[in-house]
């Protein structure tokens, strides 16, 4: 851990505490989800030769990496790319927050700094686009809740601050203040505590919803989708 300032040390402790809180709340969330009875399809398998629950589940789980497999990502490929960049930004931001407290020398490495920093800058730009989309597209305005807006605004700010933090950690001139890292760690801590109660927790449910729909449609023979 850093020894340079007590504020930074406090920020690091709060950051780890936030992680533990997030983990506890996520465990409770999963327990709540699995308290509901499982749905089961007792009908005979659908299409002979094509029916396979496991294959359906695998196809469904990994279709995020196969943009050609769904019409929505095939036709909306540009939007799919923004989705990829946005989520890589999340990975970069979380990685930055944790490595900055564990291996600060590594995050200062020029190669890591360029990759992480670029990803965060791109994610920030995508987030700005998404803010405009959510604010000004009629469909998005209709379906958006305060949670949707706040989560997006917070992530946008977090990406931006993350890029600045990376610059600070890489020793870029003009970003010397340690308060940048402190602010970033506090914002990440807030993010970690807020996420389990917000729509951002969708990534916790993602594997389950994908596997469940995959098994259901795999059993019937509809997954994997065949195009003619």
């Amino acid at each position: 851990m850093h020894e340079s300032s007590s504020l930074l040390q406090t920020a690091e402790v709060v950051h780890w505490a936030a992680l533990i809180i997030m983990a506890v709340v996520y465990s409770l969330r999963l327990r709540w989800l699995f308290n509901f009875k499982p749905g089961a399809d007792k009908s005979a398998p659908g299409a002979p030769g094509r029916t396979d629950k496991k294959r359906g589940a695998n196809y469904s789980l990994f279709n995020v990496a196969m943009p050609w497999s769904m019409e929505s990502t095939r036709k909306g490929f540009a939007f799919y790319l923004t989705f990829v960049i946005f989520h890589l930004g999340v990975v970069a931001g979380i990685t930055l927050a944790f490595l900055s407290t564990i291996t600060p020398n590594f995050v200062a490495n020029p190669v890591f700094a360029r990759i992480c920093g670029s990803t965060l800058v791109l994610a920030f730009l995508v987030a700005i686009y998404r803010v405009f989309r959510r604010l000004f597209t009629p469909v998005m305005k209709l379906i958006s809740t305060p949670d949707d807006y706040f989560s997006l605004f917070m992530l946008t700010a977090w990406f931006g601050l993350g890029a600045v933090t990376q610059a600070h950690l890489a020793g870029v001139q003009g970003f010397e203040s340690v308060n940048i890292l402190v602010a970033y760690l506090f914002l990440t801590s807030f993010f970690l505590v807020y996420v389990p109660f917000s729509k951002i927790s969708h990534y916790l449910y993602y594997p389950f919803t994908r596997i469940w729909i995959g098994r259901a449609l795999g059993h019937r023979g509809s997954y994997p989708i065949v195009r003619g």
């Binding site: 989800l33 005979a44 469909v139 993602y206």
Partner: protein, 602 residues
């Protein structure tokens, strides 16, 4: 200003919702991130680009809000934060929900397969339908059809005697076609290998498909039967969201199959019927051991592959395209077998794109046919399907679903596509090479070869004079009602050639006046007329003492007729025919209606 208190119906809906929750449903309820990716996959959205409320996410949010307000942590404590504050509170709110759940979605599941999170939006919409149905909030057509399925065991209110009468009528027609009674439909035959379950639409409005199936079963030498109970493979529980009705309807079929001791249930070409009987009904009814079941498409395909029937594809030389029923393709993975069969019985098959599980809905499903109030919206939403069909240049659109037959039929008329709809059973029957089929094997060489009936309009027209001994409508009085003079003249000529005495009326008021004076044996009624419409005239006929007993055969080219079939303000018409009308089908059908009425009277 304080919020109104929740009504009793809302509270009941909340209680019911709790009973419908399982992990998969909850996953779909919490998994939506409002990304909007489902938006451009929905035919309602694509055809109503200026109405953001058509987006699937908005529709699913109607039940999601209820869930979040009552079962989700954040929603329970800070409902306004997650949109759970805008839940329905009054019965007026429920009317709006009814319009969303029933009128802006056919539950086709296109949104489901395009959701990055795997949210099953269509199932959530069905859940909302079920919640509304449970408190009595539903379109009138849904109410009437559900009631009939509960009470009479079929969704078109077909009485048992009318059902059996129709089977016997088709058996008689087969006897006339073949010159013998071998192909007669076996009814309630115990121990048969196959029990054939059909769509009541076939009984009520298109019995020809029953005859064609019977011919194919006979040609294949099949040991089969049709039951007197549990014969309806359709299931309005799928559309209304009522799992109780779904289970009861499916159980009727399974129980009858077990009672008869058959080996398998064969389901006639019906998308939601196949899905409900083959899959969902097993879950709704809690049936411990799923009964062996297959679609008639697979049965016919198997017959050809096993050499039990032989077909000549050159008998179906028109360009054909195939429309995948949403329930068959997306919910049952049933899309290759119909294509395989189609390629065996036609010579010119052109795919439409997209297809299979990615195919667009024809807007005929989800119970849409029974909800006449949403017809204009439904037809507009079908524009995408209409464009798909147009691009193929097809003369016939083939589908394995009766709702799609009606849905596509409406689109073809509305968008003037100039083609017709057929089912695979039509094409297989037409392509049969009877002398090479299994039923003819083993017959002595000197045995006469029965002529294979070719159920096309032209050949039926040629065959009828040879079979008919006297004019089929001799001695009958028929009142023809249509505002278009050409159509009136055509119908009058057809009926007079068949021996009937005919009167004409050109509008609804004249129809009622002449019906009272002329007292016809049957009224041929167009529905789309200026002034008093055919629908209003029909209702008045039924409510007037002097005319209430006169059978009515609706002859129309517009989908408004479904209002009298499904909403049923009065007893429904005895028959329905689609324009343009086939002469021989018209005469045969009308003769059957008036003969049936005489038999009942006697």
């Amino acid at each position: 200003m304080s919020k109104p208190a929740k009504t009793h119906k809302i509270k009941m809906m909340e209680e019911q919702l709790a009973k419908k929750l399982n992990r998969q449903v909850v996953g779909s309820l919490v998994g939506c991130v409002h990304c909007g990716m489902c938006n451009d996959c929905c035919h309602y959205v694509l055809s109503h680009p200026d109405d953001p409320k058509m987006t699937p996410s908005y529709k699913a949010d109607q039940v999601r809000k209820l869930f979040k307000a009552n079962h989700d942590w954040t929603g329970s404590v800070f409902p306004w934060w997650v949109g759970a504050d805008k839940v329905p509170l009054t019965d007026d709110d429920l009317d709006q929900l009814k319009d969303i759940a029933f009128g802006t979605c056919t539950n086709c599941r296109r949104c489901t397969i395009n959701c990055p999170m795997g949210v099953d939006t269509a199932t959530l919409n069905r859940i909302m339908r079920g919640l509304l149905t449970n408190v009595g909030v539903m379109p009138e057509g849904v109410r009437v059809v559900s009631k009939d399925q509960w009470e009479l065991g079929n969704q078109m209110g077909v009485l048992k005697e009318d059902y059996i009468d129709t089977l016997e009528w088709m058996s008689e027609e087969l006897e006339e076609d073949l010159g013998h009674g071998e192909a007669a439909i076996p009814i309630d035959k115990a121990g048969a290998k196959i029990m054939y379950a059909i769509n009541p639409r076939e009984v009520k409005y298109d019995p020809r498909t029953i005859k064609e199936a019977a011919l194919i079963f006979w040609a294949a030498g099949e040991d089969w039967t049709m039951p007197t109970e549990g014969w309806d493979n359709t299931n309005f529980g799928l559309f209304s969201g009522d799992d109780g009705l779904g289970g009861a309807s499916a159980k009727r079929e399974y129980d009858k199959a077990r009672e008869l001791g058959v080996d398998k249930i064969v389901i006639s070409e019906c998308g939601h019927g196949y899905r409900s009987t083959r899959h969902e009904g097993v879950n709704w009814s809690g049936d411990a051991e799923p009964f062996p079941m297959e679609s008639s498409v697979m049965t016919m395909l198997r017959y050809i592959k096993e050499g039990k029937i032989v077909v000549d594809p050159t008998k179906n030389s028109q360009r054909a395209t195939f429309h995948d029923s949403c329930n068959n393709a997306r919910s049952c993975g049933f899309y290759e077998e119909p294509r395989e069969l189609l390629r065996l019985v036609t010579t010119d098959f052109q795919e439409m794109y997209p297809n299979r599980a990615e195919g667009f809905c024809c807007t005929g499903g989800g119970g849409a046919m029974s909800m006449s109030e949403y017809t204009p919206r439904r037809l507009k939403s079908g524009e995408i399907k209409a464009n798909q069909i147009r691009e193929t240049g097809a003369e016939i659109v083939v589908t394995s679903c009766h709702n799609c037959v009606d849905g596509l039929g409406d689109l073809i008329k509305h968008y003037e596509l100039g083609c017709e709809v057929k089912q695979l059973v039509d094409l297989v029957a037409n392509a049969l090479v009877l002398e090479e089929c299994a039923v003819m094997k083993g017959r002595p060489a000197t045995a006469p070869v029965p002529e294979a009936p070719v159920p096309t309009a032209e050949v039926e027209a040629a065959a009828v004079p040879a079979v008919a001994v006297e004019a089929p409508l001799s001695g009958r009085k028929i009142l023809v009602v249509d505002d278009e003079e050409d159509i009136r003249t055509f119908l009058v000529t057809v009926f007079e050639d068949a021996g009937a005495e005919v009167m004409e009326a050109s509008d609804g008021d004249e129809c009622i006046e002449k019906a009272k004076v002329f007292r016809p044996d049957l009224i041929s009624l167009d529905l789309s007329m200026p002034g008093k419409s055919g629908v209003d005239a029909f209702v008045e006929l039924r409510k007037t003492a002097e005319t209430e007993e006169i059978p009515v055969c609706v002859v129309t080219g517009h989908p408004e007729f479904r209002q009298v079939i499904y909403d049923r303000p009065v007893p429904p018409p005895e028959g329905y025919l689609n324009k343009p009308v086939d002469e021989d089908k018209l005469v045969s059908y009308v003769a059957h209606i008036v003969d049936a009425k005489d038999e009942k009277a006697n």
